[in-house]
């Protein structure tokens, strides 16, 4: 049942121009950043040779591209998550799903999975950009994989939060604005906490992503992401169930 709903989500998503436009624009921005980094690398390449233990291609080109990808996806997420529940409510199609013999958990997980498959296609496109570097050299596969894993996890966090906020309203625009606000807030927490080693630092999404970006997979970051995703998915399910009780 979860897969049926995920399939339906993907079908409706790709039936609209939104998905294609987003994919194209994101790829354009990321390719631009990627080429910029590549240019910079070629300029400083001669100086790099003189340093003992110089940073490699992956560190100079791929890691920054993935860092930008996280921010780009942060901006794109609200546009995708607003459709999930809020638009179904607005189009009166939520009744269709609730009347079917499936649980709220199936609905929420199906929608989450559908969105994650879309995000995977974005991540694959970014990874392909990185892999294209193999044409002219070698890659640090470990660092690339850690970046991919990090991006996947942070996307899951965006999706879970967006899905929950989408459950709160019947207005897609409000869901999008709310999600964007919340995600930006979680980013700004990062900036505010940058100079002090305060506890706020632990709440920032992108801060936790940074260590993946450097190639460090820390169990603390993994736990943070897992808890974040789980919390918002459970909240979303509870919210939908509560609505059936309260009306």
């Amino acid at each position: 049942m979860i897969f049926t709903i995920a399939c339906k989500e993907l079908k409706t998503l790709f039936a609209s121009p939104l998905a294609w436009t987003l994919l194209a624009l994101m790829q354009l921005v990321l390719a631009w950043v990627f080429l910029g980094r590549l240019d910079a690398f070629l300029e400083i390449q001669s100086q790099l040779v003189q340093i003992a233990n110089p940073p490699g291609v992956t560190e100079i080109i791929v890691a920054p591209a993935f860092a930008v990808a996280a921010v780009v996806l942060l901006m794109a997420t609200p546009l995708l998550t607003m459709r999930l529940i809020a638009e179904e409510r607005r189009n009166h199609t939520m009744t269709f799903l609730i009347s079917a013999p499936i649980s709220m958990t199936d609905i929420v997980l199906g929608k989450f999975l559908g969105l994650m498959i879309f995000f995977c296609s974005v991540i694959v496109l970014v990874a392909v950009l990185a892999i294209s570097l193999l044409a002219g050299g070698t890659l640090d596969v470990g660092l690339l994989l850690s970046n991919v894993a990090g991006l996947l996890l942070i996307c899951a966090c965006f999706a879970a939060l967006g899905l929950y906020i989408s459950c709160l309203t019947a207005q897609p625009a409000i869901a999008a604005a709310g999600t964007l606000g919340a995600l930006l807030g979680l980013w700004v927490v990062d900036i505010a906490a940058d100079d002090t080693d305060s506890i706020m630092r632990n709440f920032s999404l992108l801060k936790h992503y940074e260590s993946f970006n450097r190639g460090v997979i820390d169990t603390f970051d993994l736990a943070y992401f897992a808890l974040f995703i789980l919390t918002f998915l459970v909240l979303a399910i509870r919210r939908l169930d509560g609505e059936r009780l309260r009306g």
Binding site: T4, K11, A15, I98, P101
Partner: protein, 253 residues
């Protein structure tokens, strides 16, 4: 076998629903046998839609219970919901899907196996006169066709109970007649609950009629019974729902 045919497919007992301080539905009792079509009448705001949402598991009742073919809707919602087909007031259609895609989705969500999917799809389309519309986008269909798609998704999994909320609103007279014929056909082997404002429709299609007013069931009789007593439905309706003081007092067996 005979007993099974006449046994109740849907029975609601003491159904109540409060929204805050307001009681939208109070103490509704409802029982329907296989092969029976129930006309569900009432002025706007009487609580018809709320009752239907409770019967289909879209809204939890504040008190009371619902059983579908002997399965409690609150205890085993999955099994119970699989036996209900529901067309809400606004047909829940995805405009960006084609009719086939949408009906296939409806069938899968209602646990129709892959082996039976094609047959179920063809039968639902044939019943609702959608044979030529399979590849069209739902958004491009006319209101009448959209309504048919809505009915098709409610019957595709061969449910025991079909609940239709104002299925003929906005249709032209020909389409109305077709839909009524369809409802009659459905009623031959299943239970159908039909909510409507059109009294002649009830008289022509339904076996039994229940009238709701201010959240209470104020009238419950068979159409044949009404005809024998030579009372017109319109008189009953006006008498029961215009006179606010008398609400809740009249209940014929």
């Amino acid at each position: 076998m005979n007993e099974q045919i006449t046994s109740a497919t849907i029975s609601a007992c003491g159904l109540c629903r409060n929204f805050g301080m307001i009681a939208a539905v109070r103490e509704i009792n409802l029982e329907l046998k296989r092969g029976e079509v129930l006309g569900f009448l009432g002025p706007n705001g009487a609580g018809k839609t709320t009752t239907m949402r409770m019967l289909t598991g879209n809204l939890a009742p504040s008190a009371g219970s619902v059983e579908i073919c002997g399965i409690d809707l609150l205890d085993r919602p999955r099994d119970a919901k699989a036996r209900i087909g529901y067309l809400p007031e606004t047909p829940p259609l995805y405009r960006e899907l084609t009719v086939d895609e949408y009906l296939r989705l409806a069938a899968r969500l209602h646990r129709v196996g892959n082996a039976n999917l094609r047959a179920a799809l063809d039968e639902a389309k044939q019943r609702c006169g959608l044979n030529d519309a399979g590849r069209q986008l739902i958004g491009s269909l006319s209101k009448g066709y959209q309504q048919r798609v809505g009915i098709a998704q409610a019957i595709i999994h061969n449910p025991d109970v079909v609940i239709l909320d104002e299925p003929t609103v906005g249709l032209d007279p020909n389409q109305m007649r077709e839909i009524r014929t369809l409802i009659r056909e459905l009623g031959a082997e299943r239970s159908v609950i039909l909510s409507t404002h059109i009294l002649p429709e009830v008289e022509s299609v339904c076996d039994r009629v229940q009238i709701m007013h201010q959240g209470r069931m104020v009238f419950n009789d068979s159409i044949i019974g009404l005809k024998q007593k030579q009372i017109s439905l319109e008189e009953v309706f006006a008498q029961l729902t215009l006179n606010k003081e008398s609400s809740g007092d009249i209940q014929s067996p």
